[in-house]
């Protein structure tokens, strides 16, 4: 005979699993739903955006991140590779001794001590409170000092009149521009960039993006698993983009 006042083994298991999942699993499935910034709040240093690239997972011949960036920011070119803007590009490296070929995406490294901002005569190159290095194109005079100062060749200059800009990425002739960690997206509450999203969708998961201040962010987990290194660490620029697996 069944006793209603006591839990059966089945009920106990079901209820305890529900409670467990409510506490541990669901918050992970809905990522940072509460962390998104209200539109009227100014950015501050409590958020520190960063990116890690796992070179072992980056696939040679894949350009999903580059295509996504072009799509997101309307970076159409004029079929002139030497002068067309590129905010992110793929590099192929070959180890001289082992002849191992590896490939990686290269973009603005969002340094904490950015040389581009040091040399900018108008203050148009600046570092936002949350660590994003950007160009304020309203004050940029197009002198291109920053392009010369950048050791990663991350910046581009717009040489020609543009007509098909997208609403979220204003850009025009006579200004320098570079990757801005999809600032428009993350200001609107997203916690992923176009390149990371594309890399995830391809199933490679080489790029991880997130907030360094949040111990549960994807980038922190990725770095915990496989420590990331900064390129040219001897320059002491403290980049926010790190590479692991080399």
């Amino acid at each position: 005979m069944k006793n209603n006042s006591l839990l059966t083994r089945r009920d106990f298991l079901v209820k305890s699993f529900t409670a467990f999942s409510a506490i541990y699993i669901i918050p992970d499935i809905i990522p940072h739903a509460s962390a998104s910034k209200p539109l009227d709040k100014e950015v501050d240093s409590s958020t520190r955006w960063a990116m890690n690239v796992d070179i072992d997972k980056c696939v040679e011949g894949c350009s999903a991140c580059v295509d996504a960036c072009v799509d997101e920011n309307g970076l159409y070119g004029f079929d002139r590779p030497e002068t067309d803007s590129q905010w992110i590009r793929k590099l192929t490296l070959k180890d001289i001794k082992t002849e191992k070929i590896s490939t990686l995406p290269m973009m603005c490294q969002h340094c904490e001590n950015p040389p581009c901002c040091d040399v900018c005569p108008t203050g148009a190159s600046f570092r936002r409170e949350d660590g994003i290095v950007m160009v304020n194109q309203h004050t940029c005079i197009g002198c291109r000092y920053c392009m010369m100062a950048c050791p990663f060749k991350a910046r581009s200059f717009v040489h020609e009149n543009l007509t098909e800009q997208v609403t979220n990425a204003p850009r025009g002739k006579g200004c320098v521009e570079s990757c801005n960690f999809c600032a428009n997206r993350i200001d609107h509450g997203a916690d992923t960039t176009a390149c990371e999203e594309a890399c995830m969708n391809e199933g490679h998961q080489a790029i991880t993006f997130g907030d360094l201040s949040n111990p549960n962010s994807r980038v922190n987990k990725a770095i915990d698993n496989k420590p990331g290194r900064r390129l040219r660490a001897d320059l002491a620029l403290k980049q926010r983009v790190t590479y692991s697996g080399f």
Binding site: K41, H138, T167
Partner: protein, 160 residues
Amino acid sequence: MHQLVKSFAFIIFIFNPLLTSSHDGEKHSMKGHSKADMMEQCVEPTIVMQKEHFKFLYHQRDKTVIKGVRTKKHSLANCIDCHVSYDNKGEAIPVNSDGQFCQTCHVETAVNIDCFSCHASVPRGKQVILKSNDNIKSISNIHAKTSYLIKNLEDMHYEK
């Protein structure tokens, strides 16, 4: 006499272009329909907007670029979203093209703006696709409402 006719012809020839291009008494109207057509007022009272809109834009642009504030109220993207006109096919007409919202006044007051050498003059891009679908719906609503108003006006006219 011959001299008089000649000078008349000359005078008419001189003043003719001025007479034909005068706008006096002619109503200025923009091509297409925009969301703003059906609104009572902009984000601030109309008189304030006419005099101060550029101050709002300057203020907002620095807050947006440097501080990451993305409020809609004084943002250029939102201005364009609301004031851009759509033609009968539902395609957006650039706000800075001839006879459109921005350009009409700026030609009149001889103010040359360069917002749109960098900023998109129509809503464009990934995040605005959903919005523009809404736009098309609201435009068809505007069409219906305006035609309704015009009909009613005519009826009122006849009653008089």
